[in-house]
Structures are given as structure tokens and as C-alpha cells.
Amino acid sequence: MNEERFQKRRLLLACYIVFALLPIYWMVNMSFKTNEEILSSFSFFPQHFTWSNYKTIFTDPAWYSGYINSLIIVAINMTISITVALPAAYAFSRYSFIGDKHLFFWLLTNRMTPPAVFLLPFFQLYSTLGMMDTHLAVALAHLVFNVPLAVWILEGFMSGIPREIDETAYIDGYSFPRFFLTIFLPLIKAGVGVTAFFCFMFSWVELLLARTLTSVDAKPIVATMTRTVSASGMDWATLAAAGVLTIVPGAIVIWFVRHYIAKGFAMGRV
């Protein structure tokens, strides 16, 4: 309708995309350079194009196992987060019970503690349990910030589904688990997609807890990356290459959930 307005919006979007891509372009650019070239001169394209940084990552088990460990940790964390958050979000969106509002807000307060605070207690807790350097320990530790987030986002999506749907299903003789899995869950696919992406993202990039709780066997890629800082200086090029590779799994995840995000809430939040 309003052509000029439309153009302005497109312009804003285009400007933002350029702004968003420039630092990423610089990272990609760095990943194809050698350390000497990065530090010695300014250039828009690598003058001495090299794959060696990527070769380092793909041939050194210490590097590529970091990606595998990260994926395992994130997968465990996402599964637990969403499994426990689904029924809880349903309860918050459908019923009122003693302490529901307080509990709902309390959940979010667990995201408000700086992770550094948890370092020492977590270290002691998981040492006592004999779970140090396992994928499960890191995945459980990351529940602190992912479960509250998952409950909050899912509750928002579920509240958008009219309650009549539940009631009709119960009258039709559906049991709660059957209703939940076969009718309700498909309705909030979008919410589950968005939640999965955010859980993936926050667990994928978390460094402090992951580094403290692992040493060798379960070391995720973000912790492995700190190797590039050493006494002999920064290994900028390898870090940039590793950074480029950390984007890839997440980009794949968002590619899969993009339809869910774009389609949004099935019924609309009221």
C-alpha cells in the first residue's frame, strides 16, 4: 500500500544485515590468512590464501573432538530441558495452583545469578558425585539457565492455544498423555522449535561452567578454543577458523526450525 514506507523498512533491514555480516566477514577473512598476515597488514581479501587453519582443526583430535563433545552436551541438555519444561509450561498456562505465580518468577531468577557464582559449588558438587569431565555433568549444569527459559517461552506459546481444545478432547475421552502428544504438541510445534533453538544457542556458547567441569574427555569446543591463547601469543587464525566452524551447526539448526519460527504461533497469543 504505502510504497515509500515499505522502501524505508527494506533499507533498514539491508543496513542491519550489512552491519551483522561485516564482523562475520572479517572472521571468515581472518580464517583464510596466516597469523603473520593478520597482524601485519590490512586487506579485504587474504593475500596468501591458505586452508591450513581448517586443516589443523580437522586433523587434530583435540580440536574436532571438541565439536563432537559440544554436540553431545547440547543434545542431552536440549532433550532434558524440553522434556521437563513441556508439562510444567502446560501446568502454568492452564491451571492455577498454590504458589504458581511465585514459582514462575522464581524459575527466571535462576538465570539472574552470574555463572561465576556457581563455579566453585558446581565443582564441589560434581566432584563429590564423581561426575567430573562427563558430558552429563555439563548438560545438567546448563539446565540452570535453559530450563527456566524453556518454561517461559513454551508457556507463552501454550497460552495462545484456546482452552476449549483441551476440554473438547477430554470430553471425547482422550487421556492426558494421549491428548498432549497427539493433539496439543503438534499445535505448539512452533514454540518447541523456537525453544529448541534458544536452548541450543545458550548451551552451545556457554564457556565458564563447561570449562570448569571438563578436562579432557568431555571438553566442548568453546573450552578447546581457549587453547589458542598461549604464552607465545594468540593464534588468531586458528581461532577465527574454529569460530567459523562453530556457526555451522547452529545455522543448520535454525535452518530446520525456520518454518516454525516464521509460521509463529498456531493460534495467536491472547
Binding site: 533498514l12 562475520i24 572479517w26 593478520i38 540452570v144 507463552g156 581457549t226 562453530t246 547452529g250 516464521a262
Partner: protein, 297 residues
Amino acid sequence: MSAIKPVNQKAWWLVLPVVVCVAFSAVLPLMTVVNYSLQDIISPERRVFVGTEWFSAVMRDEELHGALLRQLGFSLAVLAVEIPLGIMLALSMPARGWQASAVLVVVALSLLIPWNVVGTIWQIFGRADIGLLGATLQKMGFDYSYTGNATHAWITVLTMDVWHWTPLVALLCYAGLRSIPDAYYQAARIDGASKFAVFRYIQLPKMRGVLMIAVLLRFMDSFMIYTEPFVLTGGGPGNATTFLSEYLTQKAVGQFDVGPAAAFSLIYFLIILLFCFILYNWMQRVGAAKQEGIEHE
């Protein structure tokens, strides 16, 4: 949450797994911290109960007040830039087709980079001799240096945060916008509503839920920002970008005493809690009042 929900105490059973999970990984560690904050731990065997001594010491700390003010200023700036920008982005992102998919992926990219890498990339990116941003600004005649000039350092950290986290706001708002049924827009068109009226009376109220999550998340996360400024500026120059968590870490690592650090963490937590509580209640009230207003019209 429009209609009144039926009371059902059995709903606790559905919530129980979450409570167990979070209690295991949050409450237990938090109790340990409370325990430390009340003691002077000279060695693992020798501990003295000191009561609230650490708390009053921390509260009187002048440097802490400085760090707190800087932190508040930074967090408010983050909200002031990222929330409007995120909403505008969400409004201008295409709704369907391959462009929608492409834009979604591009916008989400910066979220997926580990925080220490974000800092490192910006460290190079902002350098006047070898970085794109630094070199460009230098060419344009600005004497830009994020390591030497406090204002430049602060703006660079803010720009980095905007670059890193605006996508979170944009994605949440975008998901919220897509939920609005076409019927609403059709009704607005028949009424001859202006673009602004559509935004004010349809889109904004519909985005309220996701917007609240976005504001709270951005507030608490920016309040706890640590890795990126630490890698980029190390808190400097001087203490221009030494935010609260940076200062907390300096204290905890520098003094080898977990007592004051634990007390500090608890006060830190209470400050965030207080602000989030105010924000949450304020937004709930504004939202409720707005919806009532619409219903009355």
C-alpha cells in the same frame, strides 16, 4: 492469560520435574554460596563465622558503587538501543518465501558465535591498523582507539553487544508478529487505520508476551556481561568498561578469599532480582491497562 484459570493443585505434579531439575542445579550451589558468605575461610580446616561482616564491607566499597553505576548505565543503554531496533527489524523482516528463511539465518548468525570469539573478533575488527571498523573510522578522520579512549571503548562494547544480541529480540518479536491472524489486519484496513495505529493497537499488544521475555532476558544478561568486554578491553582503559561481573571476578581471583566474593555475588543477585521484579510488574501492569483500554473502546 485472559480468562480465569481453574484451580487444580494436581498441576504441581507437572511442575515437579522442573523444580527438581532447577533445585538440583541452582538451589544447592546457592546454599553453598550463602554458607561461604557468612564465614572467613582461612583454610579448608579453619573457618570462622563472621556473620554479616562481609556484607557491610562490600556495601561500603566505593569502587563497587562506581562499577554498579557503570553497569546500570550500560544495561539501560543496551535496552534503549536493542529493544526498539529489534522491534523495527522484526517488522521489516519478510514474512514468507525464501527471503524469510535467508534473513532468519543471517540474523541469527551472531548469536551462535561463542562469546570469547565475539570479543576476539571485535578486538581485531576494531584495531585501527588491521581491522575493518578501526581502519574505516581512521580513514574517515576519527582518531578512533578502543584501547586508549574511554568513550570509544564504552561505545565499542555497546556496539558489540548490539551486534551480538539484537537478533535475540528480533527473533522473539518476529515469532510474536507471525502469530497475528490476518483477520486483524483486514479489520484495520477496513477501518482505514494508519500504519502507526496498526502497530500501536494490534502488533504491540500481541507482542507483549514475547517482548517481556526479551526485555527481561536482555536486562539480566547485559547486567551479567563478562566475557566480551573482558576479552575486548579487559575492563579498561582505566575502569571505563569494568562492569560488575568484571569487578567481582577481579575481587574473587585477586584476594583468594571466597567469603567477600560470595557476599558480593549475593548482593549482585539481589540487585538483578530487584530490577527484574520491578520491570516485570511494570510491564504486566502496562500491558493489562492497555488491554483494558482496548476493550473499553
